[in-house]
Symmetry: C2
Subunit: 199 residues, 2 copies
């Protein structure tokens, strides 16, 4: 197989991360996720925890914070994004790999060798999964999912000016609750290995 980069956007609890891991195992290529964050951390001197938390930081209403933002450009979360984007671009240029999240589809939009995938599923399916498989509390998981969706949508919109989960931004968008996590992986592998005949 030629050089290939697969990006996986996913709704929390949909199994997208598991699918990405399966792809990297099957194809024998690097899986970028926490590892990516770690690499960013090394390059920029940020601590890992700092990078992991950066996208959740919100400006306060403090005047001093506003003043800080006005004179310090780009903001800290933007610096993190820029550093991550650099790592993603370098990885994609260097090696075949699977990259989960981090707007990688957008960051790599000018490359020809990228397969962009989005994995989603209805909230009840994901709620059951995060309680059963991730060991999360069974108190109102639906509400936490809505909050997560909202945050990912806002993050994606902020850095790409695109709509998160808009099918036209991906080659494949799959509902893992119907297709099944394992079959999602098989289906993506099939397309990655042998692109279709246009007609």
């Amino acid at each position: 197989m030629n050089h290939i980069v697969i990006t996986i956007g996913r709704e929390y609890g949909s199994g997208g991360r598991l699918i990405a891991q399966r792809l990297s195992e099957e194809l024998g290529i690097t899986f970028y996720d926490k590892q990516l964050i770690s690499e960013v951390a090394k390059q920029t001197g940020f601590s890992e925890n700092f990078v992991r938390d950066a996208e959740h930081q919100r400006p306060t209403n403090s005047f001093l914070y506003d003043l800080y933002c006005a004179v310090q450009a780009p903001s800290v979360p933007d610096q993190v994004f820029i550093a991550q984007a650099r790592v993603i671009k370098e990885a994609a240029a260097r090696e075949s790999c699977v990259i989960v999240g981090r707007c990688a589809d957008y960051i790599l939009r000018d490359r020809e060798d990228v397969l962009n995938v989005f994995i989603h599923a209805p909230i009840p399916y994901r709620a059951e999964r995060i309680v059963r498989l991730y060991g999360e509390s069974d108190a109102a998981p639906e509400k936490r999912l809505e909050e997560k969706d909202k945050r990912r949508r806002a993050y994606y919109k902020h850095y790409t000016n695109r709509e998160w989960g808009k099918s036209q931004n991906y080659h494949l968008s799959l509902d893992s609750s119907l297709v099944g996590v394992e079959r999602c992986a098989q289906l993506i592998l099939d397309v990655a290995r042998t692109p279709g005949e246009p007609n």
Copy 2:
């Protein structure tokens, strides 16, 4: 195979209609498109041409037209939509079938036996296709596609209050330029015949 209804939403020129035809042939089930319109026409007494054109009708800015709208509810396009929705619901209840367009995914959202698919492709790919395969003029096909996309988006939004092509509204969204028209059909057939194992 059990009773199944497949709805295909598609961007103009993406091959979605061809994919739907292949599915109906392979599965030996009815293909609803012009035939659907014809059935609506019979049930409602509208002429076929009238129904076909109804979604393209636009209100004028005339005061008399506004007055007409205010006192005559629902509007003629809305009546057409209502009649089509009834035909779609009856067809889905009666038989396995493939339905192209007409917001069928939304109309059938309460059924459990529906596989919703969206087929899309980048504009350059579709532009080449509509000139080569549909015999359309090669003068600025990209512009016509943008206009078509805009109209379909507005139509879908008007009747469903949803975003056209939002991946979460479909089980499968496929880029036919990468996957290939024939393989899109095979992939949908595979999922239709054997739903995946949730995990």
